[in-house]
Amino acid sequence: MAVVSRGFGARRRESDPRLPPGQYLTEDFPVLSAGPTPRIDLDEWRFGIRTETGGEVSWTWEEFQALPIEDVDTDIHCVTRWSKLGTSWRGVSLDTLLESVESEAEYAMAHSYGGYTTNIPLDELREGQAWVAFEFDGEPLDAEHGGPARLLVPHLYFWKSAKWVRGLTLMDDDEPGFWEQNGYNMHGDPWTEERYW
């Protein structure tokens, strides 16, 4: 039994309700990567969606920029416990992109330049929950933070917001991506602390 200190505890601070459990605020924007930063030429950049039946659609950078673009202001939560509130992004909503495909699939695997993958339920990419984002804080997204474009799924831990995203493969069944094979949770909800297996 720990030694109780007389009178201690009267000044304790309430936990911040804006933060998921176990998280705390940062003003920085730390970089956490599984490998080196890929450098992708905009002339070569493509974003594609492949359905579970093999149908494919893809956009070049010009085609992508011609799609409806949204401003996104949101909080982001990293599994390493930092949270950044009020971040600003610009990107194309996954709702817009998914209009171009027909699919009954329930899951998606995001693929990135460099080989990174992460899996997300498809209905968590719809209805205003996900974007392919290419601007952060008013500037083009820099390569260290996932530029030219990254997936942005702020309601899940930020490892699901795949940097250097190049496309989605839609799947009938859930499959683990890179970190999910290495101990991280298949779903990754910060509000219920789904960090690890």
Partner: protein, 241 residues
Amino acid sequence: MTVGGWQPARVIEAVGATPSARLLHLQVPGWPGNDAGQHVDIRLTAEDGYQAVRSYSIGSYGPGETIELAVDEIPDGEVSPYLVRDVLPGDELEVKGPLGGYFVWRPGGAAPVQLIAGGSGIVPLMAMVRAATDAGAAPSVRLLYSVRSAEDAIYRDELAQAATDGGVGLTWRYTRAAPDGWTGHVGRVDDDVLRAAVWEPGREPIFFVCGPTGFVEHVADALVGLGHPSARIRTERFGGA
């Protein structure tokens, strides 16, 4: 032995040091002694089991069962106001330590030593001043102490006395208000201050810089800019501004 490294400790003395800081003397039965520069983690447990842990540098060094901490109150803090305002002799808490094998000074080195303190960063450096003085090494140690004003300087009297007794070379830097009779400038530590106060690069000093994170990083960067190798600069950041 102790469970999980936490040892019971008792406050035996609490003395005001500045308007916002207090010196606490803790008796820690079985304390193994500590090197100059080490710290302890303090754990406080409330009646309902709520706990908080904070780190504090030890101002004392050497053998014995009594250690000295100097706690500066942080506004809206959870622990420091308790330690500065509420704690009384006889109160109990838990300590873990001594901790820290990197930011320590032991006698026997050949290089001159430069200590640079920002505010409450003086505490581990005071242990080094005391250890160096007792070891007869004071002539090769300098201290640059940056504080808002003279009344905010923890250990002010002891340092001033040591300076007149031919102890460590002491340079004060007042960032907001200087004492009466001060003929120097007032303001933050800058390159000119460092150049004037610090052992020159040719002497190959080793540095111990301690204080708020921003202060430490500014000073460390400036020292490198003035020609001191970063490998000879040891730092300890206290958080806050």
